[in-house]
């Protein structure tokens, strides 16, 4: 049996929630399909205050932002339908999708679809990286911040992007000893204010250093670190051992593009955006008409940009279906301006270059 819907949003994280709110505000009927038991995406695990501007809830803690965005959606009970614990397993031409929820498969057909699937973590290849006690940063946050379970007593963090820095700080807050933070690049990747926050708690940060191997019988007991030269080659003789009972890997994210690839939209590998991303036009529409994208699935950024993209794409998708928001033009302009403002600084460079490459501009800056 096929159920018809106006707008289906795949993913109930920051981008999906804001897209749903904006589309419903324009008058559109929306179905949000979320894989997890609850809405909110990664925000629900974030205990720190967010950066950005007031428009994207700066200085509010992540889990509180999730509550605000979910409240916004709940205001449109007559317009927004929510399926949680529901995984979209198929995305096909003619805007048909198949959903698996609690043992039952169902089929939907939509006038328009917004894919807001977010990203997945990258992992790192090293000897014994499958020993128990070696986690991705997302798993550490789920255990610790969602379920109140410590991942270990003494840990080494690998990766100094914002996630690595923030999760290290959260581990210290939870009483876990962070023995070191390793960064393979010569410089700290994330915001230096986060690094300073960690350093003053006594956590040493080793740049140009990576994990060579994990050591342990039934679980990780030690790691061996090694320094890297300018060519990213291991420098022998610089190996050091650190006693740990857990290791956290935080070496970046890549867009969750698999559904889009399944739908055979035109894709491109853009390193600056985190991996495989769909080609899009200025409406965030893929090569498959009425299939839109918002958030990290179109390039790894912060939750602030995911939220703005969600509003923007919700507005556009609703308009396409025939629901013209009363402030369409003003809002459209405002969201475009906010995105360019967010991306205009040095930390936006990767996204700027990535998006230019995606558009096929060769002299991207």
């Amino acid at each position: 049996m096929m159920t018809n819907k106006e707008l289906i949003i795949i993913g109930g994280g920051p981008a999906g929630l804001t897209a749903a709110k904006m589309a419903a505000e324009a008058g559109c009927q929306v179905l949000i399909i979320e894989r997890s038991p609850a809405l909110g995406g990664q925000l629900i695990k974030q205990t720190h205050k967010f950066f950005g501007s007031e428009l994207t809830y700066a200085k509010t803690r992540g889990f509180d932002i999730a509550k605000l965005l979910i409240d916004d959606v709940m205001k449109f009970k007559d317009k927004i339908e929510i399926m949680c614990d529901a995984t979209v397993v198929g995305l096909y031409p003619n805007h048909e999708i198949t959903v698996y929820q609690k043992g039952v498969y169902s089929k939907f057909k939509a006038t328009a679809i917004i894919t807001a699937t977010g990203a997945s973590e990258k992992f790192l290849a090293f000897e014994n990286n499958d020993l128990p006690g070696i986690y991705g940063a997302g798993a550490v946050q789920t255990l610790m911040n969602l379920y109140g379970v410590l991942p270990g007593q003494s840990i080494v963090m690998v990766g100094s992007g914002n996630i690595g820095l923030i999760v290290s700080y959260q581990l210290m807050q939870a009483g876990v000893k962070v023995k070191a933070l390793l960064e393979a690049a010569p410089k700290i990747g994330g915001y230096l204010v986060h690094a300073s926050k960690l350093r003053r708690l006594g956590v040493p940060i080793y740049t140009s250093t990576t994990i060579k191997k994990a050591i342990g019988k039934d679980f990780v007991e030690q790691i061996e670190t090694v320094e890297l030269n300018e060519k990213w080659e291991m420098v022998s003789g610089t190996e050091k051992l650190i006693d740990v009972d857990a290791v956290c890997i935080s070496v970046g994210l890549s867009p969750l593009h698999q559904l889009l690839s399944m739908a055979a939209v035109e894709m491109k590998f853009v390193n600056e955006l985190g991996g495989m991303v769909p080609l899009i036009n200025e409406n965030h529409e893929t090569s498959y008409p009425n299939l839109f994208v918002a958030g990290d699935v179109i390039g790894i950024e912060e939750a602030s940009s995911a939220m703005i993209e969600g509003y923007l794409v919700g507005l556009i998708a609703a308009n396409r279906i025939g629901y013209h928001h009363p402030h369409y033009e003003t809002l459209l302009q405002s969201y475009h301006d906010q995105l360019s403002n967010l991306r205009s600084g040095p930390f936006g460079a990767k996204t700027r270059i990535g998006l230019a490459k995606l558009r096929g501009e060769t002299h991207a800056r």
């Binding site: 205050k49 950066f51 950005g52 007031e54 700066a58 509180d64 915001y191 708690l201």
Partner: protein, 161 residues
Amino acid sequence: MLDKTGIASLEQVKSRFPKKEFLAKAKAIIECYQDIPCNPCQTSCPFGAIHIGDDINVQPKLIVEKCTGCGICVTSCPGLAIMLAKIEPSKAVFKIPYELLPVPKKNEIWHAINRAGAIIGDALIESAILIPKQDKTVLVTVKTDLNLLYEFVTIRSKDHE
């Protein structure tokens, strides 16, 4: 070195301190050394004493004459990069953001900690305030020896080492 170690140099720290004559009253010390897209310090200041402007990728600037030392920015900065400093005869008084347990109590003596995480002396806790507006970030007032003015950044409990 800040971008390799997370430790700001003495010159960087001093560049964020106003002239000593201003420090008879508490003033905000804003240790934001990078152009990151963020502006809650500017929007939270009720006195217009912190300027970033429309482009939020710019580092904040303190307009020292306008700063009343109220401390609102200290718990508003998501990077915990702002503290207040004041000079008293032979003592330095700071208001710092604190997000760890246990929460310090008035009249306790804690370790004074520098930007590298090392113990540099004693810190007398004068108060630890938490109101709902601070959203769980405690504002701790501490007193140290004046010679720690440019070195002190946080506190550590003597019981939990």
